[in-house]
Symmetry: C2
Subunit: 311 residues, 2 copies
């Protein structure tokens, strides 16, 4: 059984620690701040207890899973025997560039170095490394212990076998990996989110409907299908003979809409303030943390319901 | 208790009949084709039995609900005593223009005339009516008996009180109405879907990832949150201090992506063929109908799970 090293113990690294430990791996947990390492241990225990309280815990007890987390007091100790490193350091390229020099020097040559970065391409912080072919981005959706999707994004020099090994590991720990052929701004998830958000802000700015009604259009409408089918399968089932027929019938309509939507806008301070006001009517600033806990309980319950129904 | 008339017994009208009957209303069911009326009665019974078999039936037995459906042999008979007409005739403006002349002449003046159209603004088929202020679009997401969202879209001359009465009726029958301030191409739902589809096709056309991986990015990623929160609430919870902070930090990144995405493309025959091939590897053409039945079972199960969790 190989060992995982989690480097960087913020929100993302903490959730990753849970993902790997729950799947049965020994996990070295490291952060430059010992307090951060401690907070990861505390987080994992609390999150496992929350899941158990919801009736969504796994077969093992909390203690067994937590015992797999091994706090490391140095990067060298963390990487000792690790076959895979999940790095979740701050999103600043100069921090990552320095960190990867150390990781590349310490890790044995076949160890995979995977970054959780949501915005920096691996090429921007691994170009200078002797052994850069084992580096890639493995970008989760927050928090990965509740949301399975991860994006695997190679740098131009990433070994294809490294991508496949990372994908196999992700499958094994219960995540759902997708493979990007190459680096692209925003990767796939944030590009899809960007497209939807752009139209959402446009509809509110143009006075077509309220922010709450845009949210409802998704959560009581399109989101019910997107919860278990992507956009392509959705339209494939929306014409008797499938997606080609759908595109033939509705392609011109969508092209017309796409031209109206080819109108990139900055989110003005005024617009953001107006939407912020609308949001604060529903969730006060002081209630955001509680609402986030509610979101995570819902995510856990719905992911469990999905497993039950889809098998 | 007032009576509802469902005019037009295709897929949409049939599902509407179920929605109103399940909520306790007497429903006159009319179509120019008596066979279509019969197929609506058959559909409603089968759909109710499917829901019951899934353990998702309501408190009433199938027979009680079905007994509220009253086949009508003429438009005059259908509208007798009806306070609300849900029209789901074919999506051709000349058909609707003629039909609305008859509906407007037959229906008592305070009866609401609501169209299920997904693409035609009410102004395009009600401008010539003496009593056009009672006309609007009440556009469902298919099928409305499983997906609650409806878009209320007034023509420029629609009485605001008519919109409010239609919204109140929709709430009462368990649907989730949103109100558009005015007519706009694609309404809200198809505009949001258009934005996402545009990027989905672009990612596949540019060779970034497979159609299946785009679908996974939604169904194992973004769609898990959009199932119960819209895009605004999602980002509101993704920064410690809420949406204004999120926009301040990430607005420039999204604006950059929006500019890259301001590139409307027709869906080329070649691209559509390639995606069609990818889809057919997962669901053969001969399996589409069964997959659609699977989708509807999933929708019913997930909507029920959502009610259970959210209360």
């Amino acid at each position: 059984m190989f060992r995982i090293a989690v480097v960087g113990c913020g929100v993302v690294g903490s959730s990753w620690s849970l993902v790997f430990a729950r799947a049965g791996f020994e996990v070295s947990v490291y952060d430059a701040s010992p307090a951060a390492v401690q907070s990861t241990l505390t987080f994992v225990r609390a999150a496992l207890e929350d899941l158990a309280a919801q009736g969504l815990g796994g077969d093992e007890d909390v203690q067994t899973v937590c015992a797999r987390l091994k706090p490391a007091h140095s990067l060298e100790a963390a990487l000792e025997g690790a076959s895979y490193v999940q790095e979740s350091a701050p999103e600043r390229v100069e921090i990552k560039r320095e960190l990867y020099v150390r990781l590349d020097a310490i890790a044995s040559p076949e160890t995979i170095l995977a970054s959780s970065t949501s915005g920096l391409p691996a090429s921007s912080f691994t170009d200078h490394l002797p052994n850069r072919a084992r580096c890639l981005v493995v970008h989760p959706i927050n928090p990965p212990h509740l949301v399975p999707l991860v994006e695997l994004v190679p740098a131009p020099w990433t070994d294809a076998a490294v991508v496949e090994r990372a994908a196999a590991l992700m499958e094994r720990v219960g995540q759902a990996p997708i493979r990007l052929a190459r680096e692209i701004n925003g990767f796939v998830v944030n590009r899809l989110q960007s497209a939807l958000l752009g139209e959402a802000f446009r509809l509110v700015e143009d006075g077509i409907c309220s922010a709450a009604d845009v949210d409802k259009a998704i959560s009581d409408g399109l989101g019910l299908r997107w919860f278990f089918m992507g956009p392509f399968e959705t339209i494939d089932l929306n014409a008797p003979n499938g997606i080609a027929e759908y595109c033939k019938n509705l392609g011109p309509m969508y092209y017309g809409l796409a031209r109206e939507q080819a109108d990139p806008r900055e989110w003005s301070a005024e617009l953001v303030q107006s939407i912020e006001r609308q949001r604060r009517e529903r969730t006060q600033a002081s209630g955001l943390a509680a609402r986030r806990a509610w979101r995570d309980r819902c995510l856990a319950a719905f992911v469990a319901a999905k497993r039950r129904v889809l098998g």
